[in-house]
């Protein structure tokens, strides 16, 4: 059976070049990078090389990249670190209603521990309003954390402008760039970013490795204590193959960025246009232009999302209802709610995300399948009244 993977925002396959780069570090160059002998030094050099490549991809310098085990750990560290490291200055944090759970649940934890959180609203496209942000800043505000690219609807925030505001106020600025990395241009200096979270498995690197960019001008307390790894900032024996794989993936992402964006944008537009042409009462969620090049989030009114996903799955097609980590309980997404989509429509929304291995043939197959599904299940939907004539 044909298999089409359209969930690149949930995770990506590891590229062959990436796996090839990793392989020597399992069985041969397996040394502990903290060890002084040859095998240790080999591992250490490989880490340094990977760190450079990742720094290059976001315009940072090598020492500003600290490896973590995931984007989630990077988010936890950044936000908790900035919060506890600045609790003498204040206890107020500003974020948005559409952050990933890694951010939202970290904020809930902080709220339970004496911090005050403001969740900014977004407009119907998922954009925050810069005036809202300015108005939300108070005497005791110590951190602003706003994601670069939303994982469900793909909306890109005006990060550079946000960074200007936080710099003017002398407030730390963290951005969750897990979905942005390798999909849009990122330059931490140009964007005025202090802390930025990234994750390898979203850019064709292995799972289990991420990083936190920490601007060299700032300091946050450690999150994981122990050995002197990672410039004494994050303890634990380094995941050498993971780091090497992340480095290789970053290198490829940098090389291919323009081409990648062009290809995805083109395929994405083809998919959206064709669906809108073939099926009535369908809408694209998120911002029409300022969006992740591979993200398609659509509402197929009257068809329940899980039904659609199951049918697609039976046909070999992988898609999702939003963020992978909540998809075992099919609930209306907090992001779709925040952009004001009525509940039935939120429950009728599906996310397709396109990646480097997607072809037009794949999309044609998926489009045909969607047409079948929509026709079939609208017919038995209690809400649907067919428009005759």
């Amino acid at each position: 059976m044909k298999e089409v993977y359209l969930d690149y925002s949930a995770t990506t396959p590891v590229k062959k070049e990436v796996l090839d780069a990793m392989l020597p570090f399992f069985i041969n160059s397996y040394g502990n990078p903290s060890s002084l002998y040859k095998k240790g030094r080999e591992a250490k050099a490989a880490i340094s090389d990977a760190r450079k490549k990742i720094a290059d991809l976001i315009g940072a310098s090598e020492r500003e990249i600290i490896f973590t085990s995931s984007g989630t750990e990077a988010d936890n560290w950044a936000v908790k670190g900035a919060a506890y490291g600045n609790s003498h200055k204040g206890n107020h944090i500003i974020t948005t209603k559409i952050e990933h759970h890694a951010l939202l649940h970290t904020c809930e934890f902080l709220a339970d521990n004496g911090f005050e959180i403001t969740y900014l609203d977004v407009d119907q496209y998922g954009m925050i309003n810069l005036e809202d942000l300015k108005n939300a800043i108070k005497e005791n505000t110590i951190l602003v954390s706003i994601m670069l690219v939303n994982n469900e609807i793909g909306t890109i925030q005006p990060i550079k402008e946000i960074g200007k505001i936080t710099r003017n106020h002398g407030i730390l600025f963290h951005t969750d760039a897990v979905q942005a990395l390798g999909n849009i241009e990122i330059n931490v200096d140009d964007m005025n970013i202090d802390l930025l979270s990234i994750s390898s498995h979203k850019i064709y690197g292995p799972k289990g490795i991420g990083a936190l960019y920490i601007n060299k001008k700032i300091k946050i307390p450690n999150f994981i204590h122990g050995g002197a790894q990672e410039y004494q900032k994050r303890a634990g024996t380094e995941n050498v193959p993971g780091i090497v794989g992340f480095g290789k993936a970053a290198e490829l992402a940098k090389e291919n960025l323009a081409e990648h964006i062009e290809k995805l944008t083109h395929l994405r537009n083809y998919f959206v246009d064709t669906i809108l042409e073939k099926i009535e009462e369908v809408t694209l969620n998120g911002h029409p232009q300022k969006r992740h090049p591979g993200n398609i989030n659509m509402t197929f009114s009257y068809v329940e999302g899980e039904t659609m996903l199951l049918y697609l799955d039976v046909q070999g097609i992988s898609a999702s209802s939003g963020s992978a980590c909540s998809s075992s309980s099919f609930q209306a997404s907090h992001v779709l709610k925040a952009i004001g989509i009525p509940l039935e429509n939120a429950l009728s929304s599906v996310r397709f995300t396109i990646g480097d291995f997607t072809t037009k043939e794949d999309l044609d197959y998926v489009i045909d399948t969607i047409v079948t599904i929509v026709n079939k299940y609208r017919k038995i939907s209690p809400f649907y009244k067919e428009k005759k004539g």
Partner: protein, 143 residues
């Protein structure tokens, strides 16, 4: 996750769609819970002659309705009322535990339709004793 029989009923549901002039009709669930189920019955001499369902619900809800409607078709009302949620799941060859609650929806929709029918015709059925049409399956089967 799902067995072939479930998938088959989900993809080609029996008795799905509209019915003109049903003798009885029951609706349960609400979009707030993420699913809604409608049952339409043709009843003659206490026998369920025909049945249709419509749903905005997940795959398990659709498959359960497909099987449940098959099971009651041709049965007397009293016999139809005897069919439990467990019978439906068994007939499907099992559902993942976190999906069992979806099958309750079809049972409840059928009972609601018969309840409405009984009310309209001033009838009483043994199998409806203690039945509450405002029952929300989601409250009782949460994991």
């Amino acid at each position: 996750m799902f067995n072939d029989k479930v998938i088959d009923h989900f993809m080609n549901p029996h008795n799905a769609g509209d019915m003109e002039n049903p003798d009885a009709e029951g609706t349960i669930g609400s979009p707030v819970c993420g699913d809604i189920m409608q049952i339409f019955l043709k009843i003659e001499d206490n026998i369920i002659k025909d049945v249709k369902f419509k749903t905005f619900g997940c795959g398990s809800a659709i498959a359960s309705s497909s099987v449940a409607t098959d099971m009651i078709k041709g049965k007397s009302i009293e016999d139809a009322l005897k069919i439990t949620n467990k019978d439906v799941v068994d007939e499907l060859g099992g559902l993942p535990s976190q999906k069992v609650h979806c099958s309750v929806l079809s049972e409840q929709a059928i009972k609601t339709a018969i309840y409405n029918y009984a009310k309209k015709h001033n009838l009483e059925f043994e199998g409806l004793k203690g039945f509450n049409p405002d029952y929300d399956p989601h409250e009782h089967h949460d994991e």
